[in-house]
Symmetry: C2
Subunit: 404 residues, 2 copies
């Protein structure tokens, strides 16, 4: 794509209402736009990153046989009353239809929707287990929204739900999801700094788990066991003072961003909705459930917080950047340079590369400042100087044309 | 995919609250589920169809250089007040944040969001033209919802917005979109029965255009010129009694489903939001806009209304069906049949086909009834009888294994 055709432009200054680094960089670089506090539009560059993250998540979940579907955002009050969360979940947007006076909620999570749907498809143990997920827009009526796309009032989540006939089977799938999550963070370039973190399991399980990415700006506090490369969250550190995997008590306190959580729901929702199955001996039992979340837009914000060099310079991991290559032409007044760079642009595309091609007639300083903001992982510079050396510049080195 | 692994199941009966054929078939076949009146979940089979339709729309719009983005569903009141539609658009869901008392709308269209965003990127005529679209969930507070996914309270739309420095340029892009839309309908298998339809242009243009698919269950009435293969809608037939393209007055009244509309907004929204550009001579002028919609979920419903053979039998167009091939094994008690069908399943997948493989131990009558509901375009039957003839059955014919 020609950079001159991009509908967005980079900006030096943005409004001062954005406190977070991720929103500042993403707005300055033309990836996102604030529509109101906590609510953002994803412009073409940002949308591409979002889709790349989604695709990695999708691929890893499909590998563990989860089936993708799409649940609605509008929910009837009756389902939320069944679990008591119509009253108790304070971030739920609640409103009435003008015409029908029906009371509605905007989904901030989907246990109340998927559980009654599953009733249609589960009769006996032979219908179990299965897992299903969606990548969908969620809503939370947050008191304050000041963390950019790390915590929005509207955001994109992957939520996965699994259904089992035994706790053993749930435990096995829970481990599969754990591994899938670790694969996802690895592919996003944050594998080394993202830790499985022990958290409270609520009424039914000893633990649930979060996945926490270490970052000084993180809202969460965790206690890291560097032997096992796992952590314990602040909530349970008083009762769990040593690493649950190796009993190490030398835990190191760090700040982190929660980028995923997995939870054994057991029978909490199946009991609320009478979701039962008949076991091998003909006895009716409540279905055993797990739920597993990853904030897709939050992950995008996390990548900015982690990989931004400063507030004017970003470097996306290769796996999710909006383009594979940023091809930048200097000396656009030279016919030879223009011709050679067009040839290179066409060649790279033929090789299947997605290329952002900056052949604009601008000063090098402007072009590099914009390229720094946009942050594409691989940058190729072509100019009179590099052509004189029969090549291009990549990472400060001259690379011959036939070696690109 | 093994059919036994599908999380959905077909059903013979559904609740009587579904009046429409599309919802009846889609629920019975396990494609969708009703969550409340006008609000549906898309189960894995339905989600695949939705994504296939989206991809066709996306490809045709990318060809005309439109750039994909994603706008939010939560809108601040202030933007809707600028155009007066906070009061006038009766289907807008309006509500308040519990915490901040901010008044919000749920987007039923996005002119009020894209226009102020475009202000950030348009200064001079050199920034024009451009076009941008999204495929996104929209909301309408409908008085009644009785047409299944043809008219939901929550639905999926593709909305495209274009920005121009002259009406000539808008006119040219409008023609490109018209052609893209006709390509889309053709690829969906409804090209022959979907007509460009003249509609009222409102204050600023003589006409706008709809795309209407002929169907007896359609809510719209159109008047077809069979010479030009275009139509005129009911709204303007009193003032436009002949075909605007050939003056033919022999127009034939038909019922139809609106599957797209395109509209020259001119400067209506750019004036409301002060969206201006500087022309070649340095004069500030309002940007000229067009908007173009296609209901993605409505298209899916239309395909059911058009291609359903009866209320128990559907046949998806090859381009959007959830699988390329439905492979059905009979005589699953024969080891040879089981082995041969597994081999065939693997071979078809190696050829890049997406296959739904029904090797369940069920009676043929049950399998065929379910396959009729699911409606995959190509069905391959393998049984003791076909293997004896060294082949499979496709459309009632024995096809040798090496000719599949």
């Amino acid at each position: 794509m020609y950079q001159s055709n991009l509908i967005s432009k980079t900006r030096k200054q943005i409004s001062q209402t954005e406190e977070s680094l991720n929103a500042q960089i993403l707005i300055k670089s033309g990836y996102i736009e604030q529509v109101m506090a906590g609510v953002y539009a994803y412009l073409p560059l940002g949308y591409k990153v979002l889709k790349n993250i989604e695709q990695i998540v999708r691929e890893e979940l499909n590998k563990i046989s989860a089936q993708e579907l799409l649940l609605p955002a509008l929910h009837p009050k009756s389902y939320w009353e069944k679990t008591g969360r119509w009253e108790s979940l304070d971030v739920l947007y609640r409103f009435k239809s003008y015409y029908t006076s029906t009371e509605l909620a905007l989904g901030s999570t989907h246990e109340e929707i998927i559980t009654p749907i599953a009733k249609n498809f589960i009769q006996s143990y032979q219908d179990l287990p299965f897992a299903t997920y969606q990548i969908q827009t969620k809503f939370r009526d947050e008191k304050r929204a000041k963390s950019g796309i790390l915590r929005g009032r509207e955001f994109i989540m992957k939520d996965l739900y699994s259904f089992h006939s035994s706790t053993d089977d749930l435990d096995k799938y829970y481990e599969l999801v754990t591994q899938a999550y670790l694969n996802i963070y690895k592919r996003l370039g944050i594998g080394d700094i993202t830790l499985k973190t022990y958290a409270s399991g609520g009424t039914f399980s000893k633990y649930s788990h979060e996945f926490q990415t270490i970052s000084d700006i993180g809202e969460d506090t965790i206690f890291v066991c560097e032997k096992c490369n796992i952590a314990i969250n602040k909530e349970i550190i008083e009762e769990q003072k040593t690493c649950p995997e190796c009993d190490n008590s030398d835990l190191i306190q760090k700040q982190s961003i929660e980028v995923g959580n997995i939870f054994k729901l057991q029978t909490k929702y199946s009991e609320a909705f009478d979701l039962e199955f008949t076991d091998e001996s003909g006895v009716n039992k409540p279905v055993i459930m797990g739920c597993y979340g990853i904030g897709i837009s939050r992950l995008m914000g996390t990548l900015v917080e982690v990989f931004a060099v400063n507030e004017s310079k970003m470097l996306w991991p290769e796996s999710v950047g909006p383009f594979d290559i940023h091809l930048i032409t200097l000396n656009t007044d030279s016919e030879e340079v223009v011709k050679k760079s067009e040839e290179l642009y066409i060649m790279l595309q033929k090789e299947g590369k997605d290329v952002l091609f900056d052949n604009r007639n601008e000063r090098p300083g402007i072009k590099f400042a914009e390229a720094d903001l946009i942050g594409i992982n691989k940058r190729i510079i072509i100019s009179s100087k590099t052509i004189a050396q029969n090549g291009v510049e990549i990472d400060g080195q001259i690379i011959p044309f036939d070696k690109i």
